[in-house]
């Protein structure tokens, strides 16, 4: 990897994923540098979830390679997975357990010693506004708070790369904004590399760089302003609609 992106926190090289004759991903190249907030913007069915399944090691790419902190996910998955924090699109909390029990469960899967785990929990819950919910059963929490618990869990083992797969689906605007701002702050303050998948253009507008994914391919990459300027579009939404070939409703 002797090239300009060799120090990327997350790097995807020419990832292809077939399901039978269907090419869900068709040669995706992508990188995220430390401290960078990168949005993966694509309409539903563009291949975002498939890409995230490959990035989180759930499935393997048909061809292509993925590196986390320079470690090949395929040949050396354990250190690569240890460096990843993941918030899945689908809720993955055990709803019958308390907030703190969910976090401890995760800590044990990640081999975090009890003392460090308690210290991290004590640090993270107030940061995410969950200090009072510590012992609440997850079933009793609102959708926004459940997401925050999942975020706390993803950050518990101090990952260097955070994968967020459409994390704001189903949340009210206030919760969406709060989570987005928190993640931006983590990028700036902690140097966390973030890949944020979304189909909502406004979430991508504040990103350092955007990858626009359409039909399994990256059709444009760069800072949002540059994409808008290159396409002589009015806004990122306009550029996105041009690239994905969808007409703006009632234009």
């Amino acid at each position: 990897m002797n090239d300009v992106h060799s120090d990327a926190a997350l790097r995807v090289i020419d990832a292809v994923k077939h399901y039978g004759s269907n090419r869900a991903l068709d040669g995706v190249d992508l990188h995220v540098m430390p401290g960078e907030f990168v949005a993966l913007l694509g309409p539903n069915g563009a291949g975002k979830t498939t890409l995230f399944q490959l990035l989180s090691g759930l499935f393997s790419a048909s061809t292509g390679r993925i590196f986390v902190q320079g470690v090949d996910l395929r040949s050396d998955p354990l250190p690569a997975l240890a460096a990843l924090g993941i918030v899945f699109q689908q809720a993955t909390l055990d709803l019958d357990l308390s907030v703190v029990a969910n976090l401890r469960f995760h800590a044990r899967l990640h081999g975090i010693a009890a003392q460090r785990c308690e210290a991290r929990i004590a640090q993270l819950l107030p940061q995410l506004g969950l200090a009072d919910a510590r012992n609440a059963r997850c079933r009793t929490l609102s959708g926004g708070n459940r997401r925050r618990v999942e975020l706390a869990r993803a950050l518990l083992h101090e990952p260097s790369v955070l994968l967020m797969d459409e994390p704001t689906v189903g949340l009210d605007p206030e919760s969406r904004q709060a989570i987005l701002q928190h993640i931006h702050a983590l990028c700036r303050e902690r140097g966390l590399a973030v890949l944020w998948a979304t189909h909502l253009v406004d979430e991508a507008a504040g990103a350092d760089r955007v990858y626009i994914l359409h039909r399994g391919r990256v059709c444009r990459e760069g800072p949002p302003q540059r994409i808008v300027a290159d396409l002589r579009a009015d806004s990122l939404l306009d550029a996105f609609l041009q690239l994905t070939g969808e007409e703006r409703p009632a234009a």
Partner: protein, 270 residues
């Protein structure tokens, strides 16, 4: 994977299964009531029909309800093994499985932890059923409670591994009913759980007899039966261990992200 990490993950998964089991107390009840009905109703009704002559490992004639206890212990393990596979499918549908499979631990080890957790629950239920047997004064030797433990653990692991393997192929929770029809019932009825194999031979149904001989569940029941009376059936032991190795290896392969069946079909894109 350090020993502390490995044991912590095992404790977390076993703890989670126990908490979930405790929250679904109906499961314990049904796991005891089901074999108890067989014992108290079926066996009582058929006591006079099935006279069981002196066969190994029994020293004397035994009542039918004594004969079917090992088979019913096998049934408890079989149901719980399948229940664990249902839990795997549930976890997959509910997304919990993703959390497990993205932990920085080898997949075979995570599956082994799940299997161990499920087996401990199986064995716990088997002992709950044995308690019922003693309450209803089925004549069983007390010391069998100790000698049967390794057999229960081994058979519980093997049936759990079979459940794990099935969970690779069961795509949705709804398909669980067919598992009952195509896995649990044939395994149970085509075995020595309810009648000794020579009875099948004597009844002039050689195909059924042959199938029952080939059925791994028969060997599990016999392993449990002999162990309960302090005897080791080497042939049954070998067959059960071989089944455990094959089922578990196939399940690990099935869950492999590169080669396994789990990777071949598209997940719903959201």
């Amino acid at each position: 994977m350090s020993p502390a990490h490995a044991s912590g993950a095992l404790a977390a998964l076993v703890g989670r299964e126990i908490v979930r089991f405790w929250q679904q107390r109906g499961r314990l009840l049904s796991s005891v009531v089901r074999p108890a009905l067989w014992l108290l109703v079926f066996a009582a009704g058929f006591r006079s029909v099935f006279g069981v002559s002196v066969i190994e490992p029994y020293q004397t004639y035994v009542l039918y309800e004594v004969y079917i206890v090992p088979g019913l212990l096998g049934m408890v393990l079989l149901f719980n093994g399948m229940q664990s596979s249902l839990a795997m499918v549930y976890d997959r549908e509910m997304g919990m499985m993703r959390l497990l499979l993205t932990a920085p631990l080898p997949r075979w080890y995570l599956l082994l932890c799940k299997l161990t957790a499920g087996t401990l629950l199986s064995v716990l239920q088997a002992y709950a059923f044995l308690a019922v047997c003693f309450v209803f004064q089925v004549t069983l030797p007390w010391r069998g409670l100790c000698t049967v433990l390794p057999a229960l653990l081994l058979c519980g692991m093997t049936l759990g591994a079979l459940g794990l393997l099935l969970s690779v192929y069961i795509r949705q929770l709804e398909n669980f009913a067919s598992t009952m029809n195509f896995v649990i019932f044939p395994l149970f009825f085509l075995s020595s759980a309810l009648y000794p194999l020579w009875k099948l031979e004597e009844s002039g149904v050689p195909i059924v007899h042959r199938l029952a001989q080939l059925n791994p569940f028969t060997h599990m029941v016999e392993l449990i039966r002999f162990s309960y009376y302090g005897r080791l059936e080497y042939e049954a032991l070998l067959i059960v261990v071989a089944c455990l190795v094959v089922f578990f290896a196939a399940a690990v392969l099935g869950y492999d992200p590169q080669r396994g069946a789990i990777a071949r079909t598209p997940r719903p894109a959201r």
